[in-house]
Symmetry: D2
Subunit: 228 residues, 4 copies
């Protein structure tokens, strides 16, 4: 499994039509090109049915958007770690605001991913929940105030205290977990602000996935990461 490094740009494809099926492959290839061009870490998170076709097509890490806990056998319709590994995934988002998890399931999923060497990015909604998530020892936490998701108003510029609060609270108990931020991130200035506030990367979706020129958007983001 390729190593995933910080700082990082994580692109959530959500269920955008522009990022579904073969178009998910094309978008992932744009991400790969910019990652290589700038030497920055970009990871992509396509829909579950697209994981296999995307992971075969690109060399950058492919993350699932969600993973269920539980061991193989039953669980019809669940997305287990074993299947993600077989589909070529390097990791998974967990607890996205559009797919919140029960605390015990979240912990079980982080442990399961750990055993199967999958990277985990746990999404959270505020500093205190971020600390709780960090105490489960995932690979990274991504704080995203839900009210800003999809707005184009970036958390790093509109609510900088969410990022600084999260960084401060997490670092008091855990020095190793990665800290990302999301919600409203759409350009290089947002990335710059996030990194300046102590985040080690960003999780974003619509600004890239819905753009007519995703490579341009990605270059603008990547430039700020390179400056790090």
């Amino acid at each position: 499994m390729a190593k995933v490094e910080l700082p990082l740009i994580a692109v959530n494809f959500k269920t955008y039509p522009q990022a579904t099926g073969e178009r998910a492959v094309v978008l992932a290839q744009h991400c790969e090109s910019v990652a290589k061009e700038y030497g920055v870490q970009i990871v992509v998170a396509p829909q579950t049915p697209d994981l296999f076709r995307v992971s075969r097509a690109v060399d950058i890490p492919v993350f699932a958007q969600h993973m269920d806990p539980g061991d193989p056998g039953r669980y019809t319709g669940h997305v287990l770690a074993e299947a993600l590994v077989e589909a070529g995934c390097a990791g998974t988002l967990l607890n996205h605001s559009e797919n919140r998890m029960v605390l015990a399931d979240l912990e079980a999923a982080v442990r399961k991913a750990e055993r199967l060497h999958l990277y985990t990015i746990v999404c959270t909604n505020n500093p205190m929940v971020s600390v709780a998530a960090a105490s489960l020892r995932p690979w990274a936490v991504a704080v995203e105030p839900p009210e800003l998701i999809g707005t184009g108003v970036s958390v790093s510029q509109a609510q900088p205290e969410v990022i600084t609060g999260t960084v401060e609270k997490i670092r008091a108990v855990n020095n190793e977990v990665g800290i990302l931020c999301g919600a409203g991130i759409s350009n290089g200035a947002d990335v710059r602000a996030a990194l300046n506030l102590g985040a080690q990367g960003v999780l974003l979706a619509s600004a890239v996935a819905k753009s007519d020129r995703p490579a341009e958007v990605l270059r603008d983001l990547a430039e700020q990461v390179v400056r790090e």
Copy 2:
């Protein structure tokens, strides 16, 4: 999209290790071989991350194990109809006992599948719930008493009244929906009993997916369907 016909054998791969990743492809190919050998309709339902690789590898219909309602855009981690179509699916199971759905979501998912020309098999737990499901006008209903799932004790032999009750109640209001039965189906005798009771096919999982010789098991099942 290939037409799916009744009577039918539907094989749910659940999350069995023997039916994950490349082994899902191999199992689907066994299903395809037997389907062609006997001229019977067999459909396979692999895990969501395996749908694309399986649908590329076989000509028999590939069903998802679950589908969420909702339209493209948000819904991180959800499995939408649009992505299933792109992954080559012919249809989807809905409301499996390991993945029950809220009534309004189930109806929305059936409507959405209809618009995208996906076949739907709605799983139910008893005759009265089967009627409710049938009234939503899916393509088929599969009644599976949860207490028999995975036991090897077949519903068609242990609880024949569940099948006859379901057939009778559904036919009083809906002449078109397919009626399948599941739970504990493991051999030709179980299939024969099911068909004799008025079912138009079976939904099964472990007997095929966990077998060392799945093709043999499938031939035993297929022979009874051919006799129909």
Copy 3:
């Protein structure tokens, strides 16, 4: 248990501050006064912690806002039929849009309520889901297009086809179930329109529960029911 009759006005107290604790008792007493004054059937649905104190204080039927299926023993935090009976309830709402239920649980809850002689009103969101709900044989179905709930735009005037469609589809399969309508019902004209379209009553909340003069609002509603 007092008999509950159609036509009917059902007042959902939701979690309005004006309808919590002792204020729930006062509001229920207003409902009782108007019910007696006009000789119309009014039922009240206060929050679960308020059921006992309200049922002791009034003679009109008290409904829970939700009930879980399941038998006594485990289920910490669940609201079982047995406890509702002990709290003096005559029945329960089920599957409200703010508390949707899994289809199999909904059926189990209707059966359980039946055994304990509790009246059930199953909320639904459109005509087809209403038919599915009706096929489970609850005491009544209340169709409420979610997009109109709490708007003051009444379903009976804005979307009359939802009511006529529901009445027609349900009556094709079930002559006994009560048919109510909700969403945006706020005055006598809305009630009149609903009854004219074939509904046998209304389910409403904010227009009564948030009013400074709930008795006046109720009288306006009751007058139309009396005219029936």
Copy 4:
């Protein structure tokens, strides 16, 4: 609101027939008698519809078995903090294994309870989840390995490392939160073992609620707490 003190015996009434309706009042009165007799802190957690009648009848603290986050208005069928206060509750259990909560909702519920001066006991399943729960700053955490719940095999005797691990991990980050243990606690020896391992109380259910002589069972438990 009466102050709740540690060490503590918390009695979860679950949905036992012996602890429903008027029998919940009687059981709570037994708890109150023993609490006064021994001068130990006992709290009771009856079902939601019984909260009002129990809190009126006894002076010991009454806890809900579950509370939903969310502010008054919508949320039909939800159990909000405001209604618990009106029903005379001193606090609430949260995240019981039979009623697990989404992480973000759990945090929101703890904050809401804090604002309304309700005590919170968050149930957890292992040491790591206990730390996550403790980082949300509830009043107390109760660790209960789900596989022991209702077995009569006590966590304090069968899995002492769960308690010591929980105490150690929590105290590394939070010196103020109470630490209880549950699962299989049924007699004084179990309580003694729990207290010796560093727990500040126990959460139990069936041993008291299903007993023919609950007061005797409670005395056996209380004696060990007094010795503390």
